[in-house]
């Protein structure tokens, strides 16, 4: 039974004020998406896979030194620079606002990796290997990528699809904030975040918690950043890639007004 499609536009809001850099999202992502285990060699060769990474920056001078964390995942840009450069349409924009990667089409030119300003695309330099005892933990809903292709964060599209199947196509109404949460259909990183720094939702759904932030940031573009009502901003906003990920600035009452800037 095929019902009419509901017009989704997925988005994520990252509240930097809540992020404490615990890396639970990184681990959840590794487990959910069959990401090869980053051993010592992967880091030594600078070839580690981190679909979501928590970057840490130090701000200020001793003794007023502060660690700043920013989780960076694929921003699912609406004008993604990676999309027009793929010769085989391995990466394209789907009608739910997601930047998707089709592993079967990919030939591995790595142009998309070069053209990603957020550096969130990963190339499989080696064939992925798991220890024998870990073979059974692989997620059956996610393709194990072969060597020679590019991969990246999908906003856990397998979970969204499962949600659509279980909720929308079985007549349970729309996949909204409540049903996303009740069925664990949000991305693994969102589910794992202990401080709820990550929020996932439908930008087209007026009741979604992400919607006001997107509306605010979309209304006041980078030239009117000061007029924004929320703390929302986009990373590398000046490149005009229009990401579907919005970051909320850190609230820091003790921040020395002379040193550093909000991260």
């Amino acid at each position: 039974m095929v019902t009419s499609r509901i017009d989704h536009k997925w988005g994520m809001v990252v509240d930097l004020d809540r992020c404490n850099g615990c890396q639970a999202c990184v681990i959840a992502c590794q487990v959910e998406n069959n990401i090869p285990i980053n051993d010592k060699n992967a880091f030594l060769q600078n070839r580690a896979y981190e679909w979501i990474r928590v970057e840490r920056y130090w701000e200020g001078e001793y003794p007023n030194i502060k660690a700043r964390f920013i989780p960076v995942m694929c921003q699912h840009c609406q004008d993604a620079p990676c999309e027009p450069v793929c010769p085989v349409f391995a990466t394209y924009h789907n009608d739910e606002g997601l930047n998707v990667q089709i592993y079967n089409r990919c030939v591995g030119t790595r142009y998309c990796i070069n053209n990603c300003p957020y550096q969130v695309r990963f190339f499989n330099y080696w064939h992925p290997n798991w220890p024998e005892r870990m073979q059974n933990q692989l997620n059956p809903d996610v393709t194990v990528r072969t060597r020679g292709i590019t991969e990246k964060c999908t906003f856990c599209i397998q979970r969204i699809r499962r949600g659509q199947l279980q909720v929308e196509r079985r007549g349970g109404g729309e996949l909204n904030d409540a049903t996303l949460k009740s069925g664990n259909h949000m991305p693994a990183c969102v589910q794992a975040c202990p401080t709820n720094a990550l929020t996932f939702g439908d930008q087209n759904d007026v009741h979604s918690p992400v919607q006001p932030y997107f509306e605010d940031v979309n209304r006041y573009n980078i030239h009117h950043e000061k007029e924004r009502k929320t703390r929302g901003y986009r990373v590398l906003e000046e490149m005009n890639t229009r990401p579907n990920v919005i970051y909320l600035k850190k609230v820091d009452p003790n921040l020395d007004s002379s040193g550093g800037h909000h991260g």
Binding site: Q45, N46, R47, A48, R53, E55, R56, Y57, V72, P81, P84, V85, C86, P87, V88, F89, R105, C106, V107, G108, T109, R110, Y111, I113, N114, N115, C116, P117, Y118, Q119, F122, F123, N124, Y125, W126, H127, R147, G148, I149, T150, L236, M239
Partner: protein, 458 residues
Amino acid sequence: MQEGRVLSTREVNRDLLRSILDTPRWFWPVVTVLGLILLIAAIAVGIMVNRGLGVTGLNRPVAWGFFITNFVFWIGISHAGVMLSAILRLAKAEWRRPATRAAEVLTLFSLMTAMVMPIVHTGRPWRILYWVFPYDFARGIWPNIRTPLVWDPSAILTYLTSSTLFVAIALIPDFAVLRDHTTGIAHRVYSVLAMGWEGNARQWKLQIVAGVLLSALILPVFVSVHSIVSWDFGMAVAVKSWHSTVFAPYFVVGAVHSGVSAVAFALILLRWCYGWQDYIRHEHIDALGRLLIVVATGWFYFLVMEILFGMYGREADELMVRQTQFTYWPYNFWFILFVITTYFIPVALWLSRAWRRNLWIMSIACISVNVGMWLERFLIIVPGLINKQLFTFVWADYRPSIFEYIIIGSTFALVTMLMLLFSRVFPLVPLYDVKEGDVLKTQVQIGRRTVPATFRED
């Protein structure tokens, strides 16, 4: 005004067909050594395809490295073909005659070699067909025409086709000479290739018209091929130092610079190998040197402009790339070496007429240019990627692996070997063109003065 003896047609035939009709003693040993190098490279490529690109030094921010550098380098070398054959033909530069065939053939082989590079550098080279050729209609997926990676094969294959035609048309009269000088199977093969050439007026007219037409038609290709290759970088918005509008003319001029230098060096080698002193004369090398001064200076202007544009914008990530290029070891060393070898050493050597006519000095200058131009591409590609963006978390350096060195080195062996094998079967200096030049260079009496005859190609 040309120097050198006036040779009879018989002598021209004898000398220029020497490379075909008898094999020099060094020929097969050299080809064997080059073949061994290629065999090693083939094994290296095999291992790379079998085990994955992990065997290279490429990593997370540096996704393109030596292979793409080498690709751009060989595309650059290929630009000498059009420059010498088409532009100088249309400009009626008389000294181009012995250089045209070598330049065109170098174009063909360097293009073929260049095309190997992006194919071996992909993750799944066996699937590349559906990138270059839109064959998989059943799935309804055509290549994405918005990407420079699809413009590349179109431009390069156009260039390859037109250059092949160019060489083929110029070869017809020479095939006829070869047909008359050979027996047995070779005779039969050359008969087919000569396509019934008798040397009558109509055939000459058609041949010349075809040559001039192709020269004119190939001109847009001359501008477009390296422009499109430069757009591989220019279109990349995320890499600040690549995302520059000056790249197309900068790359085209740079390509002519390295290509013409390579042809000059190839001519000196041919002259030395086959004893073609009467054909590849000092005046030809001299003229190439003078042309190169202009090209090099034009190129230097673009180099300065490119750096200036980068600095002028004062964007933090672009400045970071410049800082890497200028101050970080080893890139600062390579940068200084690149500027000196590409401009200051060769141009200083070319300025003196006596030095332009000294083949040793000329060889050093031409090799120096190509060392520098290779470094130029490397310094554009790699530092740009190392410090690609403001996320300092993912910066990393690039150390090419032994596999990359072997494969890069073998491309030089491949081009050399293809040139040598070609010279074994086809004349590398156009016989008919040289003869035509000899006929046309006879001097005419105007009043009391003897001046070189001017002529037109019609």
